[in-house]
């Protein structure tokens, strides 16, 4: 555990009387890709939002780069180097693609390198450079996901979290985006947390995995050691 970049330690979250997550623990090492797998309502997004400071946990703590960030506000967490690509690739629809990306470099630490990072993002997603003047609201779903990923990259994060990146996209686009995610991980040594429902895709891309069921982590291990079909049958009954 000494090498962990981000570790979630026994986090429980409640909404009123409803317990959304019960003592969830997992960690991500530097440069690794971890996938968090589970069905709708398993508590994956709750955990992610808690990590990002959008909810406060009832118990447990979250440690990032050796520092307890549990009680920090979202914007402080972001400026420490943790970025989330939220579900559905939420863009600022009335702003241009370029302005959307520049918003990503809002944390002071990222501003100096903004120009350089922007070029890099355009290299990674050439289509965004072609459309940089267009309002983000007029783009297709896949392109908007790219804008969201680009925006998260602009903050030069040490750890990137993708919340159900494949939701609502065509298989070809998903494959393309996954390739780019792996490329980001290889080239920048950015740690990545993938939140997924698609067991096969998630296991294929990640070094290790956690399975969540009804708010608890029920299984975790190395991705190469488990067969996606067995996992699916065992936990999700499909």
């Amino acid at each position: 555990m000494s090498d962990a970049l981000l570790s979630v330690e026994g986090v429980s979250v409640r909404y009123g009387d409803f317990s959304a997550a019960e003592s969830v623990s997992f960690s991500i090492e530097r440069g690794h890709i971890v996938s968090l797998i589970g069905l709708n309502g398993a508590g994956k997004t709750t955990i992610v939002n808690t990590v990002m400071g959008l909810h406060k946990p009832e118990s447990g703590r979250i440690v990032f780069k050796g520092e307890d960030i549990t009680s920090l506000s979202t914007e402080k967490i972001v400026s420490r180097g943790l970025s989330l690509v939220p579900q559905g690739g939420r863009c600022f629809n009335r702003m241009s693609v370029q302005d959307n990306l520049l918003m990503g470099s809002y944390p002071r630490t990222a501003r100096k390198k903004a120009k350089q990072t922007l070029e890099h993002v355009y290299e990674l997603f050439p289509v965004l450079e072609e459309m940089k003047k267009r309002p983000a609201g007029t783009l297709s779903g896949g392109q908007r996901q790219m804008v969201a990923i680009g925006r998260a990259l602009m903050a030069c994060p040490d750890c990137l979290i993708f919340d159900e990146i494949s939701l609502g996209l065509s298989p070809a686009v998903i494959k393309d985006i996954y390739n780019r995610i792996i490329k980001i991980n290889r080239e920048e040594k950015t740690s990545i947390l993938l939140i997924e429902q698609d067991t096969k895709r998630a296991l294929g891309a990640s070094d290790s995995f956690c399975v969540m069921l009804k708010g608890r982590v029920v299984l975790s291990g190395s991705s190469s050691e488990i067969d996606p079909e067995t996992l699916k049958k065992a936990y999700f009954g499909i």
Partner: protein
């Protein structure tokens, strides 16, 4: 020629009406709040200029150097410590807090400055220039320049600076903005600061053009509403266009009917395009 004269006056005055609406539209669009105290902010701006100009012995326009930062700070603190906290309790509580502020400010100004009519006089208040066969008041030109510069610099600020972009992003999707590292409460406070700074400028302009009282806030608020709703909430260029439309109605219709025309105009806009001409 009389016709051209009217159009020119309408446009020049219209820019001042737009200025009344700019602060309001920012708060509507970004903080998503109806600020019922905006009229009193404008009157406060007018009083500050009235008091400061003779004390410093400068042209009233120069007082902006002091009033704009001062009012910005006031707005920032007000939002950060008072209105922002009420917003956590819901929309209606926040609205009522601005309402409470509006009546408090009104009486404070009444006590401090008395109920007497006030007017800001500059050396060029009565002079005119001739352009061909039309005569234009220098005052109107000055007001036009002030309004245009303010609105333009606000637009540029919103478009090209980090904070400006963060303000636009917050108005688009505040959760996503906070995930980009934006402190939403601070951005709201900056927006209120800008709104109040714009009220300082607007106050100077209305004070130079018309006489005003501590109780004038209500009518300025109403003009601001009309301009903002016609222009589309949150749209700065829309506010400018609507202000000019409003100015033309005032000049063509005269004091009473001018307002009546604009109210009817507003109701028609609301029925035909419920989100304003430039609204989305």
């Amino acid at each position: 020629m009389y016709f051209v004269q009217i159009i020119v006056n309408g446009i020049l005055l219209g820019s001042v009406y737009a200025l009344l609406g700019v602060g309001m539209t920012m708060i509507f669009g970004i903080v998503k709040l109806t600020n019922l105290a905006h009229g009193e902010f404008i009157v406060l701006g007018a009083y500050l200029a009235t008091v400061l100009a003779p004390v410093l012995g400068v042209d009233p326009v120069v007082t902006l150097v002091i009033t704009v930062p001062l009012m910005f700070l006031g707005g920032f603190l007000l939002q950060y410590f008072l209105i922002g906290r009420a917003m956590k309790k819901g929309n209606e509580p926040a609205l009522l807090v601005t309402f409470g502020l509006s009546i408090i400010l009104q009486d404070v100004m009444l006590m401090v400055f008395s109920a007497d009519a006030q007017h800001i006089v500059a050396s060029y208040s009565k002079s005119t220039v001739k352009l061909g066969s039309i005569e234009i008041s220098v005052l109107h030109l000055v007001l036009f320049a002030i309004s245009l510069i303010s609105i333009l610099s606000l637009t540029l600020f919103l478009r090209y600076t980090y904070i400006g972009r963060a303000i636009r992003a917050t108005s688009d999707d505040s959760d996503a903005a906070s995930l980009s590292g934006v402190n939403i409460n601070k951005i709201y406070a900056v927006a209120m600061g800008i709104a109040m700074a714009s009220a300082a400028v607007a106050g100077l302009c209305v004070g130079m053009k018309w006489t005003y009282y501590p109780s004038s806030g209500g009518s300025y608020l109403l003009i601001a509403f009309v301009v903002v709703v016609i222009g589309g909430m949150g749209s700065v260029p829309g506010t400018l266009a609507a202000g000019i439309l409003f100015g033309l109605a005032q000049v063509i219709g005269g004091a009473n009917y001018g307002l009546l025309i604009s109210y009817v105009m507003l109701l028609i806009v609301l029925v035909v395009r419920p989100k304003g001409i430039f609204g989305k």
